[in-house]
């Protein structure tokens, strides 16, 4: 019996060590997911914490799939995702008693980039799909140099990878030749080093500290088809009108109605101050329709 008492005492001592540091103040809001969104949400969180002393928010990347899994496994409060949920994720959430509510906090004009030395200026969606599926392998096919196209993309746990696969590749497989990079920054580095490279990155990653397009890269204009004009992802009006074909909403998801702390933060993100930051960081602000849906989901 003495031994049991010793064990229980030691166990209780160990338990006391496990108490969360954040339990002293407000509960820390855990946000996880999309690498495309990690920077913008981090900046939003920092501003929010400055305006609301005592608020604590931790933002982690890992990819949209990682964030969605974390929400399903109840290890985060908000999942950042740059693609819609897959059916198997919706099914798993249902099984585990998770009822996701979705919020659109920004719109990303996904940019197709090449090295600035590449003479190509525009592509159609069909051409872009054929390049990434590995069906067209030489820049010559588009009037460019006689050089093999070098493909840069994301890893499959990235929402950007899935978005491009669904919307550009027609749900077909990527070419096995594609280099699967860990993040947007690595794709940009790859394109800077590779004159024959093509890559896709969130529009927010195109700019340097002065808010100018980074030196050494070129953003291609994209057309829906051969009969349509090509648009740049930097053309906000074209993105808003839906004319730029590689644009996507950036989502956050919560499990059911968000708690008060979480709802306050989301309200800040979709409010005027948050949207100013969204615009400043190179993303597009949300329209009236998305704002109304967000506000409905906050209640």
């Amino acid at each position: 019996m003495k031994r049991l008492i010793t064990i229980l005492t030691l166990s209780l001592m160990a338990l006391s060590m496990a108490s969360e540091p954040s339990s002293v103040g407000k509960k820390m809001i855990q946000i996880k997911g999309s690498d495309t969104m990690v920077n913008i949400v981090q900046i939003l969180a920092e501003k929010y914490m400055t305006l609301n002393p005592g608020a604590a928010i931790a933002v982690l990347g890992g990819g949209s799939g990682t964030g969605i899994s974390a929400l399903i496994n109840r290890t985060c409060d908000i999942a950042n995702h740059s693609r819609e949920w897959k059916q198997k994720e919706i099914d798993l959430a249902w099984e585990k008693g998770i009822k996701p509510r979705f919020f659109i906090i920004a719109v990303d004009g996904l940019s197709i980039i090449v090295n600035e030395k590449n003479p190509i200026e525009k592509l159609t969606m069909e051409e872009l799909g054929a390049i990434y599926r590995g069906e067209i392998k030489n820049w010559k096919a588009f009037g460019g140099p006689d050089k093999t196209i070098s493909l840069y993309g994301r890893q499959s746990n990235s929402g950007t990878y899935v978005f491009i696969q669904e919307h550009v590749l027609g749900n077909k497989n990527y070419s096995p030749e594609m280099k699967e990079m860990n993040g947007n920054a690595q794709i940009i580095e790859g394109i800077l080093q590779d004159e024959d490279g093509i890559g896709y990155v969130g529009v927010g990653y195109l700019f340097d500290r002065d808010g100018k397009i980074r030196k050494g890269i070129k953003v291609l204009n994209i057309a829906k088809d051969h009969n349509s004009p090509a648009f740049s992802p930097l053309d906000k009006e074209a993105v808003d009108r839906g004319d730029y074909p590689v644009a996507r909403p950036l989502y956050q998801a919560t499990n059911g109605k968000p708690s008060r702390d979480v709802a306050d933060f989301i309200a800040f993100e979709i409010g005027p101050e948050g949207q100013k930051i969204v615009e400043r960081e190179g993303f597009f602000t949300i329209g009236v329709k998305h704002r109304e849906e967000n506000e409905k989901n906050l209640k």
């Binding site: 496990a18 109840r74 290890t75």
Partner: protein
């Protein structure tokens, strides 16, 4: 000579087949994972069937898994898992004296070796090879403490002397499909021998489960399997599970099964059944670092006997003070027996769980 040539040709074909796969593997996403459980155990009673052993406290490795997964493309995945335990370690046999030597080293064996293909039908997957069986995988996921104890059908098969034919992996084919978010099913055809033995007869085991989730977080699972044992005899398992995960941080689960095997006969040559019931719960106190768990099992290895029933209560907590890859899971087991001649067993374990 001809036979030798044929053999050589076969080898070349197998080698060429693997060469074909190498470029796919080279481009694929590969992950490696290791999970280890070990215990510091203490007997808090001294006269039960388990605790009358001369040892009264010990450190023991129970399991070490090494898993390699290779996502070849969005639809195709390959998994290889080595498991290691020390349950069958005969190291040498002296035929002249009829003696065997045994040690307790952890030795690896193949637990999983399969391909998974997700593109056959929407929201489905097909597994081919040595793959997880479907009797209690859902229960094991909900219980979540395989490191502390196996689930009901898995836990007693080795200690009662009555085999319930419930291996956790087997060589065969399984197909899973989500029909709607409320309904999914799995079907499996396998050797029926499990991962420990090679197929010994021409009969295959057929298993199916139906998973119904009427409202988010509330699940019911029905399971049935059938395998012919020989020309006259067959075996069947019926199982029903229920799980509730609707309340934040709380999981409650229950399992009930009956195993019927025509070869399980009493001295009077009447068939007896094996049955069991288990209810368990876990509650997260601090997300990511502290959870509580408890379980109650009732196990009846022989339905015709009233003296062999046993009960088990397990309670403990799961504590990750530094990182979720290192968990300390102190737990206590209280085992009681219907047979009055058997004294209760009480064992305290500090289970260490490492995953990296």
């Amino acid at each position: 000579m001809n036979e030798e040539k044929t053999q050589k040709f076969k080898m070349i074909r197998i080698f060429a087949f693997f060469l074909l796969f190498i470029p796919c593997f080279a481009k694929a996403q590969q992950t490696f994972n290791t999970t280890i459980y070990f215990d510091y155990g203490m007997f808090l009673t001294k006269r039960g069937p388990l605790t009358s052993n001369p040892k009264s406290n010990y450190l023991a490795f129970r399991r070490a898994y090494f898993t390699y997964e290779n996502k070849i493309n969005d639809n195709l995945k390959f998994r290889f898992r080595y498991d290691a335990d020390n349950t069958a370690n005969i190291t040498s046999i002296d035929f002249t004296k009829g003696l065997t030597k045994k040690d307790d080293k952890l030795r690896p064996f193949i637990k999983h070796l399969y391909f998974e293909y997700a593109g056959l039908l929407p929201n489905s997957n097909l597994r081919v090879g040595m793959t997880e069986t479907i009797q209690y995988k859902i229960a094991e996921d909900r219980w979540g403490y395989r490191s502390v104890a196996k689930t009901l059908m898995d836990n007693y098969k080795d200690m009662t002397g009555v085999d319930v034919d419930a291996p956790s992996a087997d060589l065969g084919i399984s197909f899973n499909k989500n029909i709607a978010k409320q309904l999914r099913f799995t079907f499996m055809v396998s050797n029926g021998e499990g991962y420990s033995h090679a197929e010994k007869d021409k009969y295959k085991k057929f298993a199916a489960n139906l998973h119904f989730i009427p409202i988010a977080g509330l699940s019911f699972v029905g399971y049935i399997d059938y395998e012919k044992q020989d020309a006259e005899n067959s075996a069947m398992t019926y199982k029903v599970d229920g799980y509730m995960e609707m309340v934040r941080k709380l999981t409650i689960g229950a399992e009930y099964f009956i195993y019927k095997n025509d070869k399980n006969l009493t001295a009077e040559m009447e068939r007896f059944d094996v049955l069991g019931f288990s209810i368990f719960s876990r509650y997260t106190v601090i997300e990511g670092s502290l959870s509580l768990f408890a379980r109650f099992d009732l196990y009846e290895p022989n339905s015709s006997s009233k003296s062999d029933e046993m009960n088990l209560i397990i309670a403990g907590f799961d504590f990750s003070p530094w990182d979720k890859s290192m968990k300390i899971q102190p737990n206590i087991w209280y085992r009681a027996y219907a047979d009055k001649a058997k004294k209760d067993d009480v064992i305290f374990n500090i289970t260490f769980f490492l995953s990296f």
